[in-house]
């Protein structure tokens, strides 16, 4: 079985021998995480659009089985060509995206990134499936022991490796010997995202209101169709230049604004500077939830239904822009027009 690997070279290429490249698991400060995440998303969707069942668990890379695709596009060669064409547009001209194949993910990845033999152990970095610091420590330990290539690692016995490195070492040993688990493609999901621009840079606590609004808007998007969210990516464009983003998993799928606000508001504290735009994207959608209508109005069910009906009626008669909500941005500012903004009231 052949596996195809698609990588975005800006994000997943080894920079120098011995280094694993731009982004690996747990690299601290991604240069532009929002752009990186969106570029990967675009790549994956392009592949899904031609029928590939894609596994993409890390930024900058995607894997799929050629067989599945081959059926649709006339054999492995045709499948490969189709896939190449699908991702050709991603990332602009000059194609930072590369496609290659191999019997395992690791082999395909090595082929795509162009590492020459003997392949260094650093190539294992993304495949070990452990927290970043552990992986880094493990690879460093190998390097210090002079075990620098996959063949060198493969020469050790399972006993020696287990003794010395435990489970992580055994996994690395198996990988270096060509043993891997099957692919785990994701279910394609549509774009579910919202963003909000802010005047001239807003910071810290002033953003709390904007974040609440963003959550409301995301949940109100028609595309959600009542499904719960599995995770979120919160990002910002910074006023001083650059961007920032964090990912937040939800312990259990939820579509409750209170829950989402509860997990996201603390993350805002890590914003390194004033932001001029906030973005929120859903990562994965779960099954529909039954009880989600949690408007901040509170109160009992009948009241909520009445409010929802009233809002719909106003919108219907006056137009969608008629109902507005005041968003307080910087209420203490000496410049009056910075204090608040009007935003559309969210769909109940």
């Amino acid at each position: 079985m052949e596996i195809a690997c698609v990588i975005d070279c800006r994000l997943a290429t080894p920079a120098r021998p011995g280094h694993s490249g731009g982004l690996g698991p747990g690299r601290a400060e991604l240069p532009d995480p929002v752009a990186a995440a969106e570029a990967t998303e675009a790549m994956v969707r392009a592949l899904e659009s031609v029928g590939a069942a894609v596994e993409s668990e890390q930024v900058g890379e995607a894997f799929f089985a050629l067989d599945g695709l081959g059926g649709i596009h006339g054999g492995p060669a045709g499948a490969l060509a189709t896939a190449r064409q699908a991702v050709a547009g991603v990332g602009g001209a000059g194609g930072p995206v590369r496609v290659a194949t191999g019997p395992t993910r690791l082999a395909a990845f090595v082929a795509a990134t162009g590492w020459r033999r003997p392949v260094p152990v650093a190539a294992l970095e993304r495949r070990l499936g452990a927290p970043a610091p552990e992986v880094a420590a493990f690879l460093e330990a190998l390097r210090q022991l002079g075990i620098e290539t996959l063949p060198a690692l493969a020469r050790l016995t399972a006993d020696q490796v287990a003794d010395r490195f435990g489970r992580l070492g055994l996994r690395a040993l198996r990988l270096s010997r060509g043993e891997e688990e099957p692919l785990r493609p994701r279910t394609p999901h549509e774009e579910l995202a919202a963003r909000i621009e802010l005047p001239e840079g807003t910071a810290g606590r002033q953003l709390d209101r904007a974040l609440e609004l963003l959550v409301d808007r995301l949940l109100a998007a028609p595309r959600r169709r009542g499904r719960t969210l599995l995770g979120l990516r919160l990002g910002a464009l910074l006023a001083g230049g650059g961007s920032w983003s964090v990912e937040q998993g939800l312990g259990r799928p939820s579509a409750s604004p209170r829950v989402l606000r509860g997990v996201l508001l603390p993350r805002l504290g890590a914003l390194p500077g004033p932001a001029q735009e906030l973005r929120l994207r859903a990562l994965g959608l779960g099954p529909a939830a039954s009880d989600q209508l949690e408007l901040s109005v509170g109160g009992g069910e009948p009241r909520r239904r009445k409010l929802a009906a009233a809002l719909r009626e106003v919108r219907a008669t006056q137009g969608p822009e008629a109902l507005l909500r005041v968003l307080s941005v910087d209420s203490a500012s000496r410049v009056p027009e910075r204090r608040a903004m009007l935003t559309p009231f969210p769909e109940p």
Partner: protein, 82 residues
């Protein structure tokens, strides 16, 4: 700007006649009865488009209370709910 987002308290241009010291005497044809407060806002000097405004809280002859300001760069007058 994200669709649907609008600022509040946007300043609007206004015609002002001033006295010798630069203080407002008449706003859009209505006489100024008293200058209640006068203050300065000078900010955002680190960004393109620094702010320099001299604000006045006025009592007009027709009984209205009005806040106006004069921009430091253009010298133009505006009124604003503040």
């Amino acid at each position: 700007m994200t669709p649907g987002l609008r600022r509040l308290y946007v300043p609007r241009p206004v015609r002002v006649r001033t006295g010798e010291g630069g203080e407002p005497l008449e706003v859009d044809g209505v006489a100024v009865e008293a200058v209640r407060e006068e203050w300065l806002v000078e900010d955002r000097w680190w960004a393109p488009g620094p702010l320099r405004r001299r604000y006045y809280e006025l009592a007009l002859a027709d009984g209205r209370a009005l806040t106006v300001f004069r921009r430091g760069d253009s010298g133009r007058w505006y009124r604003q709910r503040a």
